[in-house]
């Protein structure tokens, strides 16, 4: 007797879901699904309803979902089948969205993670995506999320940030010089856009923080190209000259397949040098528009350099021997470019004129001296960054000097 009583208490009655007059052509299946989640596989729920033909709809739904269904006394009895769990058997867990969790970012991002959000559970049999950059050590940068946040906060709208109507008038020679320098900078910005854009398309989305940095870097460069072009066109000029040597130098950047080596050549050495150039133009530019756009672009470039540095510092910490690979890359690039002219003579002269501001011997003397200082600044900046990356003094000096005469 006692045992009978106990048994009765232990049997829990199946829960009843009343879908009322809501049809399964209007969302009632959500109520039923929710009810089924409340019982284990093999468990039963009861469903009642009053929409015309709800039984037919429920039968169709259960058939498609694989849940056995019977009707008694106007109520539907649904047994929860385990078919659904089958889809997730052998599924892959893809780390965690939260970087602070252990195992958040996998050392090797598998092709089958595909485009899934990092941390998602991916069904077995999902298509494989051939993302070439799928090793964490090849791309990872601990500060990427922070750098991305900084970049987002520092975005500027050229329309509002730059006073395009600021009045100024330059001598024709100086305005021509501005057009030549802008032509040169646009060419370099094109390289700075294309290089990360290419890696972006090859990067496993698992490394989403790095992906985000590259994406916003590409957007930064697009904005630079836009504002340099607008400045160039401000007084009706067309772009000026583009030399074979300048493009040969940039081509070596596009030809570099390794993410870290490319980052070293482009960001640490190239964009680092470019920051000096932009600061120079901010300080000595002959007109307010040039000065404003160079100030803002320099700020963006400094972030690009910071990312390159942070990435390389991490990689070198784990792989000190990678330093020789970087050194070799500078030497190889120098060899490749040894037969080219290096910096466009027109650009060099244009910089002097820009810094001079007017076409007089006295002004030109000032301009020349300023450009000499710029060259020294650039070399010192490169040396400082190489030393920070752990290159020993002599090597750092040699590599800093071997850097392309094109600046980038």
């Amino acid at each position: 007797m006692t045992s009978n009583f106990t048994t009765q208490k232990e049997i829990s009655l199946p829960s009843i879901i009343d879908i009322e007059n809501l049809g399964l052509d209007a969302g009632a299946h959500l109520l039923i699904k929710h009810g089924l989640c409340g019982v284990s596989v093999g468990g039963e729920i009861l469903v009642s309803g009053s929409a015309p033909g709800w039984e037919a709809q429920l039968a169709a739904w259960c058939r498609a979902q694989g849940h056995p269904l019977t009707f008694t006394d106007g109520k539907a009895h649904i047994i929860r089948s385990d078919i659904h769990a089958g889809r997730w058997r052998g599924a892959t867990q893809t780390g965690h969205a939260d970087l602070l969790q252990t195992g958040a970012v996998h050392e090797h991002a598998l092709p089958c993670y595909g485009l899934a959000a990092r941390g998602a559970t991916v069904e077995a049999g999902a298509p494989e995506f051939a993302f070439r950059l799928n090793q964490k050590h090849e791309v990872w940068t601990d500060s990427a999320a922070d750098l991305y946040a900084q970049a987002v906060a520092a975005q500027w709208n050229p329309e509002l940030a730059i006073d395009w109507n600021a009045p100024f008038e330059l001598a024709d020679e100086v305005e021509d010089a501005v057009a030549q320098v802008m032509t040169y900078m646009i060419e370099n910005e094109n390289a700075a856009l294309v290089v990360p854009a290419r890696f972006l398309g090859q990067m496993h989305p698992h490394f989403r923080e790095v992906q985000a940095v590259l994406a916003i870097q590409v957007a930064d460069e697009a904005r630079h190209i836009d504002v340099f072009t607008r400045r160039l066109r401000l007084h009706g000029r067309e772009p000026a000259l583009s030399t074979a040597g300048g493009q040969a130098s940039l081509k070596t950047l596009l030809d570099e397949p390794d993410f870290s080596v490319a980052g070293f050549l482009l960001s640490v050495l190239g964009e680092g040098t470019f920051v000096s150039l932009l600061n120079f133009l901010h300080e000595h530019g002959p007109d307010p528009v040039t000065r404003q756009i160079c100030r803002l672009a320099a700020r963006d470039e400094a972030r690009h350099v910071a990312f390159g540095m942070a990435h390389l510092l991490r990689r070198l910490e784990h792989e000190p021997e990678f330093r020789s690979r970087l050194a070799q890359a500078v030497e190889t690039r120098n060899d490749t470019l040894s037969a080219t002219a290096g910096l466009n003579e027109e650009v060099f002269d244009a910089l002097i004129l820009l810094a001079a501001g007017e076409f007089t011997p006295a002004a030109i003397a000032t301009g020349y001296a300023r450009v000499q200082t710029l060259m020294t600044d650039m070399a010192e900046g490169r040396l400082a960054r190489l030393l920070r990356l752990g290159f020993e003094g002599k090597t750092a000096q040699r590599l800093a000097a071997l850097h392309t005469r094109n600046f980038m």
């Binding site: 015309p52 033909g53 037919a56 709809q57 058939r63 052998g90």
Partner: protein, 285 residues
């Protein structure tokens, strides 16, 4: 090479090629030689079964009825050896617009009712039979408007039912038939807005497709074939895409208990005669 089991299937949509190529690969992996021949319509496929050109066929319920009749007329027999879990106990529903005054079958008097393809068991033959059994005859009590699409495919292509559903919402017809599952599918697609339609009648339960053996099918190969089919597990990511394409979660052993309604409809609507000859005069395939 071992003698393959040759199956017939009707190419009612391009995905049919993908499906059966996938099955062929699955059978190969299990060291079972299998090949298939695609037909453009079920009539020719059933005739090929009787001629012995194929060993087995993936048949619509109507093709099953015909194969069974043709074989019997020749003193032979065919068997339904496997079917999908989703082939069992389907019903068709008669749907009106929610604001319609029609609430039961008698309300159809003088109205226009939509039907699927002439050879559709679910959207023409069984519904016509259902109405006839309730004393409602097309052409006498109501006007039947057929949404004929791809005749010879036995309604596999649901375009006819979809066109009829669109016509219902456009007010061109007063009611229309569809498989219960299509009522949900059309509502998901947005063709039937939520709660814009009302079910006023439902046919009895009937079964859908099955694998039908041909009269002289090689017994051992068929047995092996069915074993491999029933072994296809939804859990297995290699076969799950095939099962999803073909619309099932598990294969089941065949049964013939679910074809009585259609068999009666075929007689009453004079689609085939007892020997499986085609009687329907406006049927082109």
């Amino acid at each position: 090479m071992k003698r393959p089991l040759v199956m017939g299937a009707v190419a009612y949509a391009p995905k049919v090629v993908t499906i059966w190529e996938g099955f062929k690969e699955y059978f190969r992996r299990h060291d079972f030689e299998f090949d298939f021949i695609l037909y453009s319509n079920y009539e020719r496929q059933v005739e090929a079964q009787i001629d012995g050109a194929i060993d087995i066929a993936w048949n619509s319920p109507l093709a099953w009825v015909r194969a069974e009749r043709m074989a019997r007329a020749r003193g032979q027999s065919v068997r339904a050896v496997a079917m999908r879990d989703t082939d069992c106990d389907l019903t068709s529903v008669l749907v009106v617009r929610n604001n319609s005054a029609i609430s039961e079958l008698s309300g159809l008097n003088g109205k226009i009712v939509g039907f699927g393809a002439i050879d559709s068991p679910q959207a023409n033959l069984i519904p016509l039979d259902h109405l006839r059994a309730q004393g409602m005859v097309a052409g006498r009590d109501f006007t039947a408007k057929r949404f004929d699409l791809l005749s010879g495919k036995h309604g596999d292509h649901i375009g006819g039912e979809r066109d009829a559903a669109l016509a219902l919402m456009a007010g061109e017809i007063d009611a229309t038939w569809m498989i219960d599952g299509n009522h949900l599918a059309f509502s998901r697609e947005g063709i039937l807005p939520a709660s814009a339609t009302r079910i006023i009648a439902r046919t009895g339960a009937y079964d859908h497709c099955n694998f039908t053996t041909s009269p002289n099918a090689p017994e051992q190969l068929v047995t092996h074939f069915v074993e491999l089919l029933l072994g296809m597990a939804w859990d297995n990511p290699e076969v799950r895409p095939l099962l999803e394409l073909e619309g099932l979660k598990a294969w089941r052993a065949g049964r013939t208990s679910g074809y009585a309604l259609l068999d009666r409809a075929v007689n009453d609507e004079q689609f085939y005669d007892a020997k499986g000859n085609i009687l329907a005069i406006d049927y082109r395939y």
